[in-house]
């Protein structure tokens, strides 16, 4: 199994993510209503729909250019924390893409790691704070370790996905440190973080797309 992701393919993936998010309105909204201000689904949906609108032109761009542009689009469309956090992720990732026209699996790993760092730096947050980071961090870590260990692409990608799922679920028993959930009486304990859920969706969809 060989991994070569072009801009065109990345946009196909984005389309699937957009669909996935669109379909999970009630669940995500409910989670953010419990732990935050209830707008996380609206934010994410607005952002990905906006990106989709420019699908054609984005698909024809250089990878780094496309990432930069996606970041800017999400950032300027979405209010709240997730807009600037995803914007930062994409723009940080754009930098590692350099002049490449396609991502192999190692570059994909670097891109995801850059996104993780982009979010952690922007949000001044770490794993364990009950945020989207808690889905992305274990996912990237396990993905990276698998590649370093020389595991095959398929296994490494499954590790990526399982890391996101486990990480997402781990937020359920966490106490929030950042964001609005922090100010809830229980700091959100007993509920999964909505940002971790939508982050997990994106990784699941990516892995499924690449492994299909």
């Amino acid at each position: 199994m060989d991994i070569k992701i072009t801009s065109k393919e990345y946009m196909e993936y984005i389309e699937l993510v957009a669909k996935k998010i669109e379909l999970n309105k009630d669940y995500v909204t409910e989670l953010d209503s419990i732990t935050g201000d209830g707008d996380h689904w609206v934010n994410m949906n607005m952002g990905f729909q906006r990106v989709l609108k420019d699908k054609e032109s984005l698909a024809s761009m250089k990878l780094s250019e496309m990432f930069q542009k996606v970041g800017m689009l999400i950032m300027s469309t979405v209010g709240g924390s997730s807009g600037v956090l995803y914007g930062s992720a994409y723009i940080k990732a754009a930098k590692v893409l350099g002049d490449e026209t396609e991502m192999d699996i190692n570059l994909l790993c670097e891109v995801l790691e850059a996104e993780l760092n982009g979010i952690m730096e922007r949000g001044k947050a770490k794993p364990g704070y009950k945020t989207m980071i808690d889905a992305l961090y274990p996912a990237v870590t396990r993905f990276k370790e698998s590649l370093e260990k020389g595991l095959d692409n398929h296994t490494a990608l499954q590790e990526l996905k399982q890391g996101a799922i486990d990480g997402m679920n781990s937020t359920k028993e966490m106490e929030a440190v950042k964001g609005r959930a922090y100010y809830q009486a229980q700091k959100g304990v007993g509920h999964i973080d909505p940002g971790a859920v939508t982050m997990c969706y994106q990784i699941e969809v990516l892995v499924d797309y690449l492994c299909k």
Partner: protein, 327 residues
């Protein structure tokens, strides 16, 4: 909801259009909701901004001697980085730009990002974060103290410094010094209504007020019964002085209304605050009474004290000419 508006989604852009019509020395950039000076002087640029609903902050402080550009988010929501970037671009004349940020998580992240974007364009940008509200240490909108009316003093003093032709570092130093010297404390008597929501975000009883409430209706420190002006002056000043003892010093005082409180009441409060500070042997160098940092149609007030030295006094007295503050 009784508001003089059209579509709740359009309040920010229509407001800013209305503002530039009244103040033709300013220019409005639509979509990005930026207000900037038409005539640019070659100097360090000053940019502030944040969620809308705090008028005249911040667009009302754009003009000679204060800000060069203000960036508006939706009501109570941070402007996105691309908007802030536009503000930076408009304020920049090659000598760098200082961003004055109120300490709210959303603002911090969005302004930081904008700083980076500007950096990519080769614009030198520094930031300062205002945290003057002594009410609470963390809030639903911030890690650490919130930034409220004291921000206006930062605009004024850093703006005056920039006007002297100072470097970005010098302007930033003045802004930091102002931030170090400024403290505020507020109180709310009635809720505000977000145009897009249509009903109050919180409720207060018929004789109830909330001490320390934030300018977005974030919880304060205590709900209590309505107090006299003298008692309020005592409570608000004591809270500030417990945090920052300026006994024997000279200060600038701001008695700020949250939007729906009549000027009559602000002057009555000012009368009491002056008496209270005199008792503490605090000399008031200058007083500002009015609606400087509001919260839509919330009734209530805040008190801001800025400790002064010779440098700050001179900057405070420097001419400025903006829609909401003229010295």
């Amino acid at each position: 909801m009784k508001k003089i508006i059209n579509d709740p989604n359009d309040v920010v852009s229509e407001m800013l259009q209305g503002l530039v019509k009244a103040h033709p020395q300013l220019v409005y950039f639509d979509e990005v909701e930026v207000i900037a000076k038409k005539d640019k002087a070659e100097k360090v640029g000053l940019v502030s901004g944040g969620g809308s609903g705090h008028e005249p902050a911040h667009a009302g402080y754009v003009g000679k001697g204060m800000l060069d550009a203000a960036v508006a988010g939706n009501v109570f929501a941070s402007p996105s980085p691309d908007r802030v970037l536009k503000g930076i671009q408009e304020a920049n004349t090659g000598k760098g730009v200082l961003l004055i940020i109120k300490n709210y998580s959303g603002d911090i992240m969005n302004f930081d990002m904008a700083q980076e974007l500007a950096g990519m364009e080769g614009i030198k940008v520094e930031t300062v974060v205002v945290r003057d509200d002594v009410a609470v240490e963390d809030s639903t909108h911030s890690t650490g103290r919130r930034g409220i009316a004291g921000t206006v003093f930062v605009h004024k003093l850093a703006g005056a410094k920039a006007e002297t032709g100072a470097t970005l570092d010098e302007v930033k130093r003045v802004a930091e010094k102002t931030i170090a010297n400024v403290r505020s404390m507020g109180m709310a008597m009635s809720p505000c209504v977000l145009p897009g929501v249509g009903k109050p975000g919180f409720l207060l009883g018929e004789n109830e007020i909330e001490i320390g409430m934030g300018i977005h209706g974030e919880p304060g420190v205590e709900k209590t019964s309505i107090k006299t002006a003298a008692e309020l002056a005592e409570i608000l000043c004591d809270k500030i002085l417990a945090d920052y003892d300026v006994t024997g010093n000279e200060v600038a005082l701001m008695v700020n209304g949250l939007g729906a409180t009549p000027l009559m009441e602000l002057y009555i409060l000012n009368n009491e605050v002056e008496k209270k500070l005199s008792k503490h042997n605090i000399k008031i160098y200058k007083i500002f009474v009015g609606n400087y940092m509001t919260s839509l149609e919330m009734a209530g007030c805040s008190i801001t004290l800025l400790k002064l030295d010779e440098e700050l006094k001179e900057l405070l007295d420097a001419k400025c000419d903006t829609p909401a503050m003229k010295v």
